[in-house]
């Protein structure tokens, strides 16, 4: 009864907060059952992308100025977040964002908020616990007291409770030990392969994401800088440069900056003088 993956198509998406443009003409495609990653540094607009897809921009006073977002051929732009979740988009938010005062079980049940088939929820809960057996003894624990890795598992499990056709993971690796992140990515791959769920992973940890994803996009300053298959990008010197700290062109261009000589700029007479 698992829903098969739906494809997500984003065209020309431009998002602004007040007067500041956060995304500019972004075009991203997640094929049905695909595994796509979007890479980018801090401030590249990754989180804004997630918010636009999940309809949460309004909470941050952001606005979509142009563009379209379609899920399985149907526009989800401008829909409210409950409708978007019902349409099949689930997310693991950045920083996990569990409900700290709720128990693990309650957290998981919240993930099923959009479902109307009450009877099916228990089955999903069981499925999730099979996926994350570590969580079984923790069910009645308060979520805020779990370790980072456990919290992230709850967050992924919570997202899966809505039986999504598209799963969005925002910064899954943030603050977690590589071992745990690795395990999480393997689980994502498994979900992707066995359930056919489309997966969109937003990451800073480029090497890991590129290892698991099929396609990748690189976001910089709100624009799509590069796109291609993960294998292609992994070999791309610029990606290595940006995310793997290699020694490419940009490196030399920083090193070549000359130090200013003799206090020219500081202490110059002011422009708005009364001469």
């Amino acid at each position: 009864m698992n829903a098969s993956g739906l494809d997500l198509t984003i065209e020309g998406l431009t998002v602004v907060y007040g007067g500041v443009t956060a995304l500019d003409d972004v075009k991203i495609n997640v094929p049905s059952g695909g595994f796509v990653t979007v890479l980018g540094a801090n401030g590249a607009g990754k989180t804004t992308l997630v918010r636009s897809i999940t309809g949460l921009l309004y909470l941050h006073k952001g606005r979509v100025r142009r563009g379209s977002i379609e899920l399985g051929g149907e526009s989800i732009l401008g829909k409210k977040s409950p409708d978007i979740v019902s349409a099949g988009v689930a997310q693991v938010p950045e920083g996990r964002k569990l409900f700290p005062n709720l128990t693990v079980k309650e957290n998981l049940l919240c993930g099923a908020a959009s479902r109307s088939d009450i009877s099916g929820i228990d089955d999903s809960l069981e499925q999730n616990l099979d996926l994350f057996p570590q969580l079984r003894p923790l069910l009645s624990q308060t979520a805020g007291l779990l370790s980072g890795g456990e919290q992230q598992m709850v967050a992924v499990g919570r997202a899966l409770m809505s039986q999504p056709s598209l799963l969005i993971c925002d910064e899954l690796s943030l603050g977690l030990a590589p071992k745990i992140v690795h395990r999480l990515f393997e689980l994502l791959t498994e979900i992707n392969e066995t359930r056919g769920t489309s997966i969109l992973v937003i990451e800073q940890n480029a090497s890991l994401a590129l290892q698991h994803a099929a396609d990748a996009y690189v976001l910089e300053l709100g624009r799509v800088l590069m796109e291609g298959s993960a294998a292609e990008l992994r070999g791309n010197p610029m990606v290595q440069e940006l995310y793997l700290g290699g020694g490419g062109e940009a490196h030399t261009s920083y090193a070549a900056i000359e130090r200013p000589s003799g206090g020219k700029r500081w202490g110059r007479k002011r422009t708005g003088g009364d001469s």
């Binding site: 309809g55 006073k61 709720l102």
Partner: protein, 302 residues
């Protein structure tokens, strides 16, 4: 300045009477505090209009139960239904647009709502006072030389029942779970497909129903129903704070504690000491334990 201290008495029956009076008053505070806590816990709004909501409840009770002379249960049902609709109106008409605004702006808008309600009640009911409600049993009995009114017992039972009901609701129903989720983290809740809007609307409706019940009960113990009863909203603040603004059970205990303290201050020091003493207790609790006796502390990281 010489602050005259009243006559301390060792007479146990006087103190017992004060204790019982305090518990009765405290039960009323608990009803009001429960309304505050409901709204504050789920929507982060400090509702300064709750006293007015309660006044609205009392006046509506007057209309449905006395003027229209409905059957008691039917009247109460209509009263609560009207209050529920009113709560939805408050949310969808006003508070919905204020989500994400600054704290003080939201406090001020509840003050605006309070002003409107007061003005409208004055227009439609006039400034003259109405008698108190007398639909619940009016008798009283004595224990150890102190008088206990039946109404007080009923109020007690109703408040305890409401808290229990809310507790069960929050613990075991889906909507209750969603309401707690929204209170914890509105953005994450929205991301899970919970509609914060709906949850907020339900919260306001529930708080308004509580205010309806409170008005109905308070109408039985107040001297007369007039526009001065909105003051109960302000006087219940210490109760809500002492109990902890995020704890339903705390509001009952806080209400009782503050009610008893007020009555003792009233009896032993004089009426004028009532509010200062209550607010001083609140002040001390705030400084020592800002989240109240039962409120929970949220971890904050810069």
């Amino acid at each position: 300045m010489l602050l005259a201290f009243g006559n301390f008495t060792a007479d146990p029956s006087v103190n017992l009477q004060l204790l019982i009076g305090g518990l009765a008053l405290g039960a009323i505070y608990a009803v009001v505090a429960l309304g505050f806590v409901l709204v504050y816990k789920s929507t982060d709004v400090l509702n300064l209009a709750h006293g007015e909501f309660l006044m609205l409840g009392a006046y509506f009770a007057l209309t449905f139960l006395i003027s229209e002379n409905l059957n008691f249960f039917l009247g109460v049902f209509v009263l609560l239904l009207v209050m529920l609709v009113f709560g939805l109106l408050v949310h969808y008409g006003i508070m919905r647009r204020m989500v994400g605004q600054g704290f003080f702006a939201i406090v001020l808008i509840t003050l605006g709502i309070a002003t409107i309600i007061r003005a409208l009640l004055l227009i439609f009911y006039g400034p003259t006072e109405r008698g108190r409600l007398d639909l619940l049993p009016q008798g009283s009995f004595e224990i150890g030389g102190a008088t206990v009114r039946h109404v007080d017992i009923i109020i007690f039972a109703v408040v305890a029942g409401c808290v229990l009901l809310f507790f069960l609701f929050f613990k075991y129903t889906r909507l209750g779970l969603h309401m707690r989720a929204v209170a914890d983290d509105i953005e994450a809740a929205a991301a899970m497909g919970i509609d914060p809007d709906k949850v907020y609307a339900m919260t306001w409706a529930a708080a308004m129903v509580m205010a309806g019940i409170g008005g109905l009960l308070f109408g039985h113990v107040t001297g007369a129903i007039d526009r001065s009863i909105e003051a109960i909203g302000l006087r219940a603040f210490p109760a809500a704070v002492v109990g902890g603004l995020t704890s339903l059970g705390g509001s009952i205990v806080g209400g009782l504690v503050v009610g008893v303290i007020e009555q003792f201050a009233n009896g032993h020091l004089g009426t004028k000491w009532r509010e200062p003493v209550a607010f001083s207790v609140m002040f001390v609790v705030l400084l020592v334990r800002p989240t109240g006796l039962w409120g929970r502390k949220d971890l904050e990281r810069v």
